[in-house]
Symmetry: none
Subunit: 213 residues, 2 copies
DNA sequence: ACAGAGTTCAGTAGTAATACGGATATACGC
DNA sequence: GCGTATATCCGTATTACTACTGAACTCTGT
């Protein structure tokens, strides 16, 4: 994507009114060209195959085929189209799934015009753009600010031991690594089980994974 | 962050030359104001506490205190500063860790001027911005396209058993669930260990996680 | 100086998992 | 039909882990 060159866009949304609103908003922007419009995921796939746009601006919840499924298929077309989702929901599941599939951006429908242009430019350049509310929503869930605080009241040492357990180390190895006795490791392990309610090593590994240790 | 208002920035990087380059690049942009500069993470924390910038543009690898550690501390200051990392490395570990901590963006040092401005504007608005190469690097690792297909030649039944092990179930429980004898579960478990090279239950849980079972 | 939390270590007993060995039945391809 | 892979089961012995109880030492805060 060369700077200042045209950005070819396809808009896909099942609400006519919203599609017209977006068109109106983008039509007077010099570097943006709306080359097609569609109203469901199936059309999105067909239109992308045909027109190979730079950016696909698409809703998620749509009839016939939803945006996520459409995105999956479009990603496999091997074309250089960036997908920017436009949704009313700042639902974490959606956002994460969208990013996992390979979407380049996600903004909510209450987005301002400058922000929308910012987002379009960003994804057209190949960057990833998540709108303010989207980013906030994403962070609130995945325990971003410092600690998750669902650590079951584990102490530093216990977390340390738990991390090593989750790595698959034996008590013997953990003891060696931390320069403590096996009995101490067993004590910690016992405390960890008490606090977390975890059972065997695999269960503890699962908990460690949830705690991101 | 109101639109079109000033964006107050602090730049932190241990290389004088690079810092000067950034300053030069941003100094003639009307809506950007560089209010301070620093050369390590410790200074970043102090300067943010003092000046409460809108955006902190910071390197990761720096002496005294690195950018990630500094970011952690800054996130806990309770101020409204967005952190935009600027790194030479598109290392996945760094990027993911940065986002986990709560950074708002990540661009590489070969970023063009318009892209840099785009990134700064985006994060100032509260959005998340990942540069093109950063986004590409992030997606390549996290198994985005379809399946991993590194199943070590495990059979269906073995995968089934492995999934239950990873959930933390005892052999006894697995036997009950699958309506087979404990000895059979042990056989499968043994086969799984042989094929994967996994050791104890936690190690198998780790492998299962990598295989997404 | 004291209480409390955290880390450290030990004994004793029981349960779960692992490391060897083997065995039978069933399906699938050649 | 024959070989191979898969899935099913058993015996024995060893190792790893769990459950319970008790105790010493270091810090931190009052």
């Amino acid at each position: 994507m060369k700077p200042n060159s045209h950005i070819k866009i396809i808009i896909v949304d099942d609400h006519d009114l919203l599609r017209e609103g977006i068109s109106a908003r983008l039509s007077d922007v010099g570097y943006i060209e709306i080359i097609a419009e569609g109203c469901n995921g199936q059309e999105a796939v067909t239109l992308c195959k045909q027109f190979k746009p730079d950016v696909l601006l698409m809703d998620i919840s749509m009839p016939v085929m939803n945006g996520l499924e459409a995105a999956k298929q479009i990603m496999q077309l091997g074309i250089n189209t960036r997908i920017l989702f436009l949704s009313i929901y700042d639902d974490n599941e959606y956002i994460q799934e969208a990013l996992r599939i390979g979407a380049s951006g996600f903004v909510l429908k209450d987005v301002s015009k400058p922000e929308m242009l910012n987002a379009i430019k960003s994804v057209a350049e190949g960057a990833t753009y998540l709108g303010p509310k989207v980013a906030a929503s994403l962070q609130s869930s995945s325990g971003v600010h410092g600690e998750t605080e669902c650590t079951y009241g584990l102490t530093k040492r216990e977390k340390q031991v738990l991390a090593l357990i989750a790595e698959g180390h034996l008590n013997k190895e953990i003891a060696y690594r931390l320069n403590i006795s096996i009995r101490t490791v067993e004590s910690h392990r016992s405390a960890i089980r008490d606090k977390t309610g975890g059972g065997n090593a695999a269960a503890l590994a699962k908990i460690a994974r949830e705690l991101r240790l």
